[in-house]
């Protein structure tokens, strides 16, 4: 112990680890813009759109953690987004239906409430499931595949197949899930009119704050020893074993966290947008978010969030102005980023930052 006490001048002087205030300062700036400026400037419809993008940003944050930090290219985050979304949707549906059945069940000729639905009447249970179900599914999948050293493209394909399977499952169970239409026509959200501007405004703040909290949590995780270990697993999984860690555990935990984030995002998406359906969580939306993360910059958590918001805006803008061009533009943007700026927009900005 005394040996180390004498050492500080030797070990600490060359180890420059200054606190960087630019990160927190930037975060505070973005928080002010998000929580003060945007609600003042944007009309309700536009604020609602931003709320939607921010729910996507929560999913993107999880992708940034799993893919950018952990090297797990997950092409099926829609599955977890959907699980969270449906958990919330089921509760809202039951709440609207009161003692009766949800409308789509009546149309499908279902006469008694399926047993799966019953517990979702309880709001606490429903909210718990938003976190528990995606987390449990990811944990199970991670435990099964990471131990077997399934990784890289194989893992990516597996997650994509999961997204496709999820859609088939949902579409096939018309009476249970609302089929292709999904769950929609919500009226009340925890005692408030879900369509009212004030409710939507409140929802916007909720989404923004949840995103902020999750971002800080992910940021802390990234800076922790666990975060360093995660990078090590990404860059040299086999070497990590010889450091005495089990990479499968590290990956399973991270993948589960990313799934929980997607689940929370899905649950927030439902009251904000008013629908959850298979089309919102299949292969294409899952891929779109991965592209968004790549465009924003997958190696930085902020890049993931930025990418999701920018791509959300771009999609809306081009769908309004040039409906046919968006898909091509999205593809071209992806190719450009991968080819010219593999670290995305954030990486590009930081490069300039270093050069200056």
């Amino acid at each position: 112990m005394t040996a180390t006490l004498e050492k500080p001048p030797v070990t600490e002087a060359p180890v420059k680890e200054p606190r960087d205030w630019r990160g927190p300062a930037l975060f505070a700036l973005v928080a002010v813009i998000g929580l003060v400026v945007m609600p003042l400037v944007l009309e309700p419809f536009r604020l609602g759109l931003l709320a939607k993008y921010l729910t996507y940003a929560i999913v993107a944050l999880g992708i940034g953690l799993a893919w950018g930090q952990g090297g797990m290219l997950t092409l099926g985050q829609g599955v977890f987004f959907g699980l969270g979304g449906y958990a919330m949707g089921m509760h809202l549906k039951l709440n609207d239906a009161g003692d009766g059945l949800p409308d789509f069940m009546v149309w499908s000729g279902v006469e008694t409430l399926p047993a799966l639905w019953e517990p979702f009447r309880n709001p606490v249970f429903a909210i718990a499931m938003v976190v528990v179900v995606p987390g449990a599914v990811a944990w199970l999948l991670g435990t099964l595949v990471f131990r077997q050293r399934v990784r890289g493209a194989y893992f990516a394909i597996l997650t994509q197949a999961l997204a496709a399977a999820m859609v088939i499952l949902l579409v096939g169970q018309q009476g249970l899930t609302g089929g292709t239409n999904g769950l929609t026509n919500f009226f009340e959200f925890f005692g408030q009119d879900v369509a009212a501007d004030s409710t939507q405004r409140g929802l916007y703040f909720t989404v923004a704050i949840v995103l902020g909290i999750l971002f800080i949590a992910a940021w802390q995780l990234q800076r922790s020893r666990f975060g360093r270990l995660l990078l090590a697993v990404r860059d040299g999984e086999d070497r990590v074993r010889f450091l005495g860690y089990n990479p499968a555990t590290v990956k399973t935990i991270t993948f589960t966290l990313s799934a929980v984030m997607a689940g929370i995002a899905g649950a927030l998406f439902v009251p904000v947008v008013g629908i959850i359906s298979p089309a919102l969580l299949g292969v294409v939306p899952s891929l779109e978010l991965v592209v968004a993360v790549a465009v924003g910059g997958r190696f930085a958590l902020a890049g993931a969030v930025l990418g999701a918001v920018l791509m959300g805006y771009a999609k809306t803008y081009f769908s309004e102005e040039l409906p046919d061009a968006w898909l091509y533009l999205q593809g071209a943007l992806f190719i450009l980023v991968i080819g010219l700026a593999p670290k995305g927009i954030i990486g590009f900005l930081r490069r300039k930052d270093v050069a200056a």
């Binding site: 180390t4 050492k7 180890v15 020893r225 086999d238 070497r239 005495g244 935990i253």
Partner: protein, 253 residues
């Protein structure tokens, strides 16, 4: 007292090729053992068997009196077996300090890893000092030279605090100066650790080796002191049979 490491009747077959053929290999506590042999002799395979990277087709590996055949790589590290690789694999995105800290932290409970590292722990400081990498502690490992990377690897091994260290060609590709420094580092480590080193370089061997084990075509050829091994006609033949001049220079001189 039982030996620290006991490899008994181990054979490894890759697609019909016998990489190891009935090898018996014992290392006692505190030994500094060198493992030599021509290319393809099975040296690295033997290390892989001990560390769990390769599963033996037949035979057993015992560490500190218990059979460890069924253990996975990270479990063996937890028992106290550490290794380096022929081509060093340090984490380039992490700083030298972070690399060492990660190596030193594997016994911490997982939950405590969620906290940020604060300062430098004693073990890490020691590893920095032993490998003389203190000045580079804050640099990313990606910028290190080949020699520095090897030292970082050795430093990570020290930080792990293993009971048995396996070094796979630690001086390969190093300059004469770097070799000398690595040799000193090695003797320093060997003072209070059990070490197995794979090394081709005969100069290096002569200078630092105590006991030498010679592998040839997957079989154990001879085991003994450097002089005994050098004098053995079979060893000369093995090396002579491969490249007459080179071997003559290496072994006979």
């Amino acid at each position: 007292m039982t030996a620290l490491l006991e490899v008994r009747d181990v054979s490894v077959v890759f697609d019909g090729f016998r990489a190891l053929d009935g090898v018996n290999f014992t290392v006692d506590h505190g030994e500094l053992r060198f493992l030599i042999g021509p290319n393809g002799a099975g040296k690295t395979t033997l290390i892989d068997i001990i560390t769990g990277l390769t599963k033996p087709t037949t035979g057993t590996v015992s560490f500190d009196g218990s059979v460890i055949n069924g253990k996975r790589e990270h479990q063996r590290v937890r028992l106290g077996i550490g290794r380096t690789f022929q081509t060093s694999v340090v984490f380039e995105e992490l700083t030298v300090l972070e690399n060492l800290d990660l190596a030193a932290s594997f016994r911490r409970p997982l939950v405590s890893l969620l906290a940020r590292r604060k300062g430098v722990t004693e073990k890490v400081a020691q590893a920095l000092e032993t490998t003389q990498l203190t000045d580079l502690a804050g640099r990313k490992a990606g910028v290190l030279s080949h020699g520095q990377r090897q030292w970082l690897e050795i430093g990570m091994l020290i930080a792990q605090g293993p009971r048995l260290l396996l070094l796979d060609e630690p001086v390969a590709g190093m300059s004469a100066d770097e070799r000398a420094r690595t040799g000193e580092l090695l003797t320093e480590i060997a003072k209070d650790h059990t070490v197995i080193v794979i090394e081709h370089d005969m100069d290096f061997l002569r200078r630092y080796a105590s006991t030498v084990t010679v592998l040839h075509e997957g079989k154990l050829l001879i085991e003994g002191s450097v002089d005994e091994v050098r004098a053995d006609p079979r060893v000369q033949e093995v090396y002579l049979g491969r490249a007459r001049e080179e071997a003559a220079h290496d072994v006979v001189s």
